[in-house]
């Protein structure tokens, strides 16, 4: 279970998260929706330990482990995965080498045997087929020359290979056409099970037609201001943030 309690965080001295409390039990998919500037991306970076996102109070635990004490790579090894809104291009770093290095780093800390190049290729190819990714994407530099949709699929491929306990998807739907959206959603849905949970951060409801959440939370001004079932997302779509937020306030 991911448990966030009264989290406060600053960026450049400005308080963005102002006491955010949220629990995502194992096996559940939760959505966080909110208007621009509500703190959605700050939440995902604060959870994953990015430099420049200063935690000023509160706690974050994953199955009882204190995430805030950990380096970003330790959080990943503990089972946290952040699907980036803007995946970084890494020219000169081969995608296959990157994926295998990441997989083996995580397997090492879990006490599992490393996979060699052949085993890795077999694993990766199977996952890539599910994601309709052309095989040459393994040979290219990480995200270099990838279209927006390919970059997001590459994020989902990483998630599928690393098998996290919880995935935070930071506006993974942005810039996706409907076909890519479906592939991404299928990738997440394929992971669903008792040992996987997800926090789907999005501005729009359309992704949630494909990844149906167990709970929907509304983030505004650094706090969760409303929570409900999937129907809350539909209400937001119909009434807009102003309507729902007006009522919550």
């Amino acid at each position: 279970m991911l448990s966030i309690e009264n989290l406060t965080a600053e960026v450049d001295g400005k308080e963005i998260l102002k006491g955010l409390t949220l629990e995502v039990p194992d096996g559940e998919v939760h959505a966080i929706m909110g208007p621009n500037g509500a703190g959605k991306s700050t939440l995902s970076y604060a959870l994953s330990g990015r430099e420049g996102y200063e935690i000023t109070g509160g706690s974050v635990t994953l199955n009882g482990q204190d995430l805030l004490e950990m380096e970003p790579e330790e959080r990943a090894a503990a089972g946290l995965f952040l699907a980036f809104q803007y995946p970084v291009e890494l020219p000169g770093v081969g995608n296959a080498n990157f994926l295998r290095t990441a997989l083996n780093a995580i397997r090492r800390t879990r006490g599992e045997a490393e996979v060699d190049a052949m085993q890795f290729l077999k694993l990766a190819r199977a996952r890539m087929k599910e994601l309709s990714m052309p095989e040459d994407m393994l040979k290219r530099g990480v995200n270099v020359g990838f279209s927006g949709g390919e970059k997001k699929r590459n994020e989902i491929l990483q998630m599928a290979l690393l098998q996290p306990k919880i995935a935070v998807l930071d506006e993974t739907d942005s810039g996706l056409d409907i076909d890519a959206l479906r592939i991404v959603a299928d990738g997440v849905n394929a992971m669903r099970g008792p040992n996987f949970s997800a926090l789907v951060i999005t501005h729009y409801q359309r992704l949630l037609n494909h990844i149906v959440p167990d709970r929907v939370h509304v983030l505004a001004d650094g706090r969760i201001v409303a929570s409900g079932g999937p129907e809350l997302a539909h209400r937001l779509e119909a009434e807009g943030y102003a309507g729902v937020l007006g009522e919550a306030a």
């Binding site: 790579e73 970084v88 000169g92 995580i106």
Partner: protein
């Protein structure tokens, strides 16, 4: 002050020359003798360059001039550790002397300069200019070198050129290599300069390279000498019509190292690649200086030089491209980039384009910066430890230069040297 008079800073070298003159190869050859005497006069009058000389503004030779070297030409017979072979043929030089017992030059028209200097005296200082300070110094004291001719149409394959220093060396080594490819000939020259840690010698190699019509020379230099050594190399290169000089210089060792290449494209459709990488750590200075002369039309030149700096270190890139009036349709590209891993590192970068032709395509660029924090975070967010992530990004940065080298064996040699440097300086293997 170690410099009493502006012209006296080469006194140590001149003194050594006076003691050695009769024992240096070619002592009995009038033409060689004249060249050496002329070099002595130049050095006595002008000395070695100070930082007031524009071309040496960023590389201060004072530590070299202050160093006390032992007399050269000490006979060395001790066994040296040879790196694993990368080619069937190799020319091995230990402390500057050709070692026939360690070399194999089967099927090549090759000789030790000390054996044939009388026959090739007329080739000395014809491609490399005697007015260049490192050529002058080499002319004064050269003791040996490789003389290699690849005949017309012959593909000579790969040849290793190893310049090794023995452990005891605190001397100065001045090899002179004369390499000539006849029309349509091909050669891949894999050069390594290495010395055991603790060595404090000066290595001052000079190359005179002629690439005839349609010939192709791939020349990869890996300089990984001891951190206390000095390496001051000068390469003179002439490329004729349709010929290609495909050069790569890796500067990864030495307290002060400078690799200076002067290349002229003399016939139409000639090509030059002057790529390189520099790996500079605490207390070191590495300098890549090139002067590229486009003297004929329809020629192409490509240059990508990458420098990685850690600790208190300095890197220098000076790249001059001259496009003469007659060099129409020149296609030139130059890029130099520096990656600074420490706040105490410094890069001095001086691209210089001088274009007199009106129908040319020349582009150049320079960047300097630290590792990109977004890239680093992306890797770490995937579980990759920070050290490994940094190693991956440093390799990726260099990759763009290394991958230009087409010869697989040469590329492997570079990869290995890069990896060896990184691990040797406390980095993780990636």
């Amino acid at each position: 002050m170690n410099i009493q008079t502006p012209s006296g800073n080469a006194a140590g070298f001149l003194h050594r020359y006076a003691g050695l003159a009769e024992r240096l190869p070619g002592a009995g050859v009038e033409a060689v003798r004249r060249l050496r005497e002329a070099a002595a006069e130049t050095l006595a009058a002008a000395g070695l360059p100070s930082r007031r000389v524009e071309a040496w503004r960023y590389t201060d030779l004072t530590p070299v001039l202050r160093a006390e070297f032992r007399e050269a030409l000490t006979p060395v017979d001790e066994a040296v550790e040879l790196p694993p072979a990368r080619a069937e043929r190799r020319a091995v030089f230990v402390d500057g002397r050709f070692r026939a017992d360690l070399s194999s030059l089967d099927g090549l028209d090759a000789a030790a300069l000390s054996d044939v200097v009388g026959d090739v005296a007329g080739r000395l200082n014809t491609v490399a200019s005697a007015s260049q300070p490192m050529v002058t110094l080499n002319t004064l004291l050269f003791e040996d070198g490789l003389v290699l001719d690849v005949a017309e149409g012959v593909d000579a394959g790969r040849l290793e050129l190893l310049s090794l220093a023995s452990g005891e060396t605190e001397s100065t080594i001045h090899p002179r290599h004369l390499i000539r490819l006849a029309r349509g000939a091909r050669l891949v020259l894999l050069e390594t300069a290495a010395s055991p840690s603790g060595a404090r010698h000066l290595h001052n190699p000079v190359f005179e390279i002629e690439v005839a019509e349609a010939a192709v020379l791939t020349h990869v230099r890996v300089q990984r000498e001891a951190a206390g050594a000095y390496h001051l190399a000068h390469l003179g290169v002439r490329v004729a019509e349709g010929g290609t000089y495909d050069g790569f210089v890796l500067n990864a060792g030495g307290r002060i190292s400078r690799s200076e290449t002067h290349l002229a494209l003399l016939g139409p459709r000639a090509t030059a690649h002057l790529n390189g990488a520099q790996l500079v750590a605490e207390g070191q200075l590495a300098d890549t200086t090139t002067a590229l002369d486009h003297a004929a039309p329809n020629c192409a030149s490509r240059q990508t030089v990458k420098t990685v700096l850690s600790g208190r270190s300095r890197g220098v890139f000076q790249g001059k491209i001259l496009v003469r009036r007659e060099a129409q349709k020149t296609d030139g590209y130059q890029m130099n980039q520096a990656l600074l891993l420490s706040e105490d590192a410094e890069i001095d970068s001086k691209p210089q384009l001088e274009i007199y032709a009106d129908d040319v395509k020349c582009s150049h660029g320079a960047t300097a910066g630290a590792l990109d924090p977004d890239s680093l975070f992306y890797l770490r967010a995937r579980g990759i430890p920070a050290d490994t992530a940094r190693a991956m990004l440093v390799r990726a940065f260099l990759q763009e230069a290394v991958e230009i080298v087409e010869d697989e064996v040469a590329r492997d040699a570079l990869d290995e040297a890069v990896q060896g440097w990184w691990v040797g300086h406390g980095g993780e293997a990636a």
